[in-house]
């Protein structure tokens, strides 16, 4: 079993969804039930693979380095190879993806958004899954880039075909913003390829896109070039995160996307950007990262405050959750910008927590919309009266989102703030301490808008127009089924965060140590600074 997993453990779950989609392509569209079953079977099979990987991972007990590495030729002429592997940083994100997608299939089971067409909808969902798992597993820059882009098309169609009123605008805006960033990111990757020292591959010196070798190979690049190359990556990843001021696509995309699209967008797609910083930009170009960090930190805290203020100005529940994403991703980026293992651990935790919590909030928003046919908070109210269980779940998620200790959200925000008290040695302490103060203010605002949201929607009595609406019922079986795993995880990670930190910490320390070994003394940041 172990051998099989080592060779195929990553490739099969990555490409299984595409195979499922291809099978669905051959089946006529009117056999809806069959389509749903195939999609569910495929995604559950992928999730089972995820569990097997996890068991094997625990068995290997080597979170710090890559497991299940596959290294095969792909495009020889550009020295790009098919390299896959997971370590403690990517493992939680891959598992999150493998969990969220089947839950989305279950949630959609009886409520496909107009114009229905489950075949096309589920096929897009499956293609998305391939792209997302592939991005987290790829260890070659070009392979990473290809997977990174694969998610664009399905999401574009998902928003554009199944979205709300303003879907055309939102879909193309999402697409153009991301593509702009990734085009410049590709140029950066190429510059890295040509500027880095050739490395030994298979017994001869060659240029490489191999993410495992580049930290060492790129150490020789002049600092001024490093700063430019980092800039291209910053745009590519920063737009995806999204960081202020590139965040404007996010509220539109979230508001217009169908529920499942919003959930995937929040839970996984945004993490592709932050993951890119943690996995690629910082380990490969540490010196440039140190130059950029104060600026990234500044944008991060602006994002925290701006997102929170944006939330307070919303009337639409879904848009509010979207703006809260901007704020939460600000905390994640602040953690990353400290360049300490403590901060980056917090960031990875924040990614997972945000994925669980915000994914849940979007599920809830979708269910509210389905019952009330509106998300205008001035018309909502009394959810606790009409659908008490859903109301309590909403309350639980709002508490988790505002960072209540004991729930997952806390462990993303609090350590990030703490880390900025004591950033890496090369960074100016005063700057980051002032960021810390601002970020702490952001948590107060977060409590403000989330409680206000809860008050508007869950408390009070139902409005007259909905008071006697029989279609407003409590959560259904498929909803419970889709939500339960997320709720359990939010609680479990909140009570026992070591579940996640135990996996991420060795990998984060390793990725920072790589740079410590390769960069001349003094230029690199101290991996233990945050301790």
């Amino acid at each position: 079993m172990g051998d099989f997993l080592n060779d195929w453990g990553l490739s099969i779950p990555t490409f299984l969804p595409i195979i499922g989609a291809a099978v669905m392509l051959l089946i006529p569209k009117d056999r809806e039930q069959l389509h749903k079953l195939i999609a569910l079977a495929t995604t559950v099979a992928v999730a089972v693979f995820g569990v097997l990987l996890l068991i094997q991972f625990i068995d290997n007990d080597d979170y710090g380095s890559l497991n299940f590495v596959v290294d095969k030729g792909w495009i020889d002429v550009i020295d790009s190879r098919y390299i896959m592997g997971v370590d403690g940083i990517s493992l939680p994100l891959i598992l999150l993806t493998m969990l969220i997608v089947p839950l989305c299939v279950i949630y959609s089971w009886n409520h496909f958004p107009e114009p229905r067409n489950p075949k096309a909808f589920l096929m897009l969902l499956l293609i998305l899954e391939t792209g997302m798992i592939g991005t987290f597993a790829a260890q070659d820059l070009i392979l990473f880039f290809v997977f990174f882009e694969v998610v664009l098309l399905p999401m574009y169609f998902m928003i554009g075909v199944w979205g709300g009123e303003n879907r055309r605008y939102a879909a193309i805006k999402f697409f153009l913003f991301t593509l702009f960033g990734s085009a410049l990111m590709l140029v950066s990757f190429l510059a890295l390829y040509f500027l880095a020292d050739p490395v030994m591959v298979g017994g001869e010196l060659a240029r490489t896109f191999d993410m495992r070798l580049l930290p060492e190979a790129a150490a020789g690049i002049a600092k001024s070039s490093q700063v430019w190359v980092f800039g291209g990556m910053f745009l590519g990843f920063g737009i995806k995160v999204p960081m202020f001021p590139f965040h404007t696509w996010l509220p539109d995309a979230h508001t217009e996307a169908p529920t499942v699209g919003s959930v995937i967008l929040a839970a996984v797609l945004l993490k592709l950007g932050t993951y890119g910083f943690v996995r690629i930009a910082i380990p490969i170009l540490p010196e440039a990262a140190a130059e950029w960090a104060p600026f990234i930190g500044l944008l991060a805290v602006i994002g925290i405050i701006y997102g929170a203020l944006g939330c307070l100005a919303q009337r639409d529940l879904k848009r509010l959750v979207a703006f809260s994403s901007v704020a939460h991703m600000g905390f994640v980026m602040l953690g990353i910008a400290t360049l300490t293992d403590f901060g980056i651990n917090a960031a990875v935790f924040g990614m997972v927590a945000h994925g669980l919590i915000t994914g849940m909030l979007f599920f809830l928003a979708g269910s509210v919309k389905e019952r009330y046919h509106t998300l205008d908070m001035s018309r909502l109210g009394g959810l606790l009266v009409q659908a008490p269980r859903m109301g309590w779940i909403l309350g639980f998620c709002a508490m988790a989102s505002l960072g209540l200790p004991g729930l997952a959200g806390f462990w993303g925000e609090f350590p990030a703030i703490l880390a900025s008290y004591n950033p890496a040695e090369v960074l100016a302490e005063e700057t980051f301490r002032s960021y810390m103060v601002v970020a702490a203010l952001g948590t107060v605002l977060a409590a403000g808008y989330l409680l206000w949201m809860l008050q508007k929607t869950a408390f009070g009595t139902p409005r007259e127009e909905f008071a006697n609406d029989a279609s407003i019922r409590d959560a259904t079986a498929s909803e419970y089924l889709a939500w339960a795993p997320l709720l359990i995880l939010i609680l479990a990670l909140g009570v026992y965060p070591q579940l996640l930190f135990g996996a991420t910490d060795p990998a984060v320390v390793n990725s920072l140590n790589d740079c410590l070994d390769s960069v001349a003394s003094g230029a690199c940041f101290d991996a233990a600074a945050g301790r």
Binding site: I75, V150, F157, V187, F194
Partner: protein, 499 residues
């Protein structure tokens, strides 16, 4: 009067390597057979010509395969005609493209009540010109090849005689083409005057001194500008939209892919074998052409309402991408050719695919307006998926073929490691985002909009030859994107051996 006889008697027939010219001779033979069938069988022959042409083209691939298996570089006529890897890849591409064009034409020409035998005869002679161009390493041979491919194309563009637009297309194409030829010939005469020889190798020796003799500079500029018309690079693209719109759609596909590729073949040979030492002259010129083409083509394409005109301007912009590696050829040498050929091959697959869809959809809607694609997803989902694949491939979205074409260009210009190269990379990156906007607009029409009231939305029937063309191009577009090694296997390495 008799004094001239000894000179004639002293003429020795140059050695002819029959194997090396076998592809050209096969095409010539097929053309002759097609014409004979017309003369002998008259109307009864109409049914066979399309199939005959298709089979003939496939037969012409055989000598190319044997030549490739043989592997030797063959030279004839003192180096004016060369068969090397570069020539073979492109010959094979031209013939496959022509085969797909025949598939596209079969129903279109037969149902449109046009002259069939002449159509295929002219198509074959144009292909002959292209195949010859791939081997031409001499100004005269290049010029002959160019005219051999252009003159039939002028006629084909005006094939729909009853339609004034088609006449306009043919006339405009003809006038602009002749104008370009004249400029190019003038440039060639200047270069010949300097070198005293028409072969590129000799010209390379004569011009590479690095002196700023204005005759050299003018000669190089005029020759390049002449071919810039052919590849519809900005600002010499003005014929393209009108010609593309008026010409029969299969002919448009042929012009947009094969004819453009032939222009690039000539440019690659000139830049790499003709003026290798003079990037001080051609680099700024090609840089401006590349940046101008991609930017202007894109910006104008944003405003198009007709799908064929949209493809014309998209073609201008794509030409800019293909010109970009040539602009840095002085720094990276043969790598630039590899990038351009990679681009041309992938572009051929995806662009032919677009035209195949356009022809298939126009059979129903009889319209070229982009708005006529509204709601296509509802009644022709297969066609919609294919068109989306081709459109997003043109936009360069992985994992569709176009991404690797764009990647090859980015790689080439970044590899140059100069200001010219990096600026091209940045401008190309921005342009690839602008391009997405209009490609996605077509996709939006098909997927997001509803079919107009009263439109016929019964499912679309597509004739088998079009299905074959769609299958070929669609499969190639996907394969090139997922496993680009299929392409790089042929395009990597030294393709043109410099003497």
């Amino acid at each position: 009067m008799l004094s001239s006889v000894p000179a004639i008697a002293g003429f020795v027939r140059p050695d002819i390597d029959w194997h090396a010219v076998a592809p050209e001779l096969t095409l010539l033979g097929v053309g002759a057979v097609v014409t004979l069938v017309d003369i002998v069988l008259l109307e009864r022959g109409r049914a066979y010509t399309s199939a005959l042409t298709g089979i003939g083209l496939l037969v012409a691939l055989i000598p190319i395969v044997t030549l490739a298996a043989d592997g030797n570089t063959r030279e004839m006529f003192g180096g004016a005609f060369v068969v090397d890897d570069f020539a073979l890849i492109l010959k094979a591409m031209f013939i496959v493209v022509a085969y797909v064009v025949v598939l596209l034409s079969t129903n279109y020409i037969a149902e449109g009540d046009y002259w069939e035998n002449e159509y295929y005869g002219l198509l074959l002679s144009a292909v002959l010109g292209m195949v010859l161009m791939a081997s031409a390493r001499d100004l005269i041979t290049m010029f002959v090849a160019l005219e051999l491919l252009s003159i039939p194309a002028y006629l084909l563009a005006a094939w729909r005689k009853g339609d004034p637009k088609s006449n306009e297309a043919g006339l405009k194409y003809y006038l602009m083409g002749v104008f370009a030829s004249a400029i190019m010939l003038y440039g060639m005469s200047l270069l010949f005057g300097l070198a005293g020889d028409t072969r590129l190798a000799a010209i390379s020796d004569a011009v590479s001194g690095g002196d700023s003799n204005p005759v050299v500079i003018l000669g190089i500029i005029f020759v390049i500008v002449g071919f810039a018309f052919k590849v519809s690079g900005f600002p010499f693209h003005t014929w393209a939209p009108d010609t593309y719109e008026g010409a029969p759609t299969p002919v448009t596909a042929f012009l947009a892919v094969a004819s453009k590729a032939a222009g690039f073949v000539a440019l690659m040979q000139l830049v790499h074998a003709g003026f290798p030492g003079r990037d001080d002259v051609y680099q700024p010129l090609l840089w401006i052409l590349a940046v101008g083409s991609m930017t202007a083509g894109n910006l104008i394409a944003l405003r198009q309402e007709n799908i064929v005109r949209l493809m014309a301007y998209s073609g201008v912009s794509q030409a800019g991408f293909m010109l970009a590696p040539l602009a840095v050829a002085g720094d990276i040498g043969g790598e630039a050719l590899s990038a351009v050929i990679t681009y041309v091959l992938i572009y051929a697959a995806m662009n032919l695919g677009v035209f195949a869809v356009i022809i298939a959809v126009a059979r129903r809607t009889a319209s070229g307006e982009i708005s006529s694609y509204a709601g296509l997803f509802k009644y022709a989902p297969g066609m919609t998926i294919l068109m989306s694949v081709f459109m997003f491939s043109l936009a360069g979205i992985p994992p569709l073929g176009g991404w690797f074409a764009k990647f090859a260009v980015f790689r080439a210009v970044v590899e140059a490691d100069t200001g010219w190269g990096y600026s091209l990379a940045a401008i190309a990156a921005v342009n690839s985002v602008i391009a997405l906007f209009y490609y996605a607009r077509v996709a939006r029409m098909m997927w997001f909009e509803n079919a107009p009231e009263g439109a016929d939305t019964t499912s679309l029937r597509v004739p088998p030859s079009l299905v074959a063309a769609l299958g070929l191009t669609g499969a190639a577009t996907l394969l090139f994107g997922i496993y680009p090694a299929v392409i790089t296997h042929f395009t990597d390495g030294t393709l043109i051996a410099l003497p």
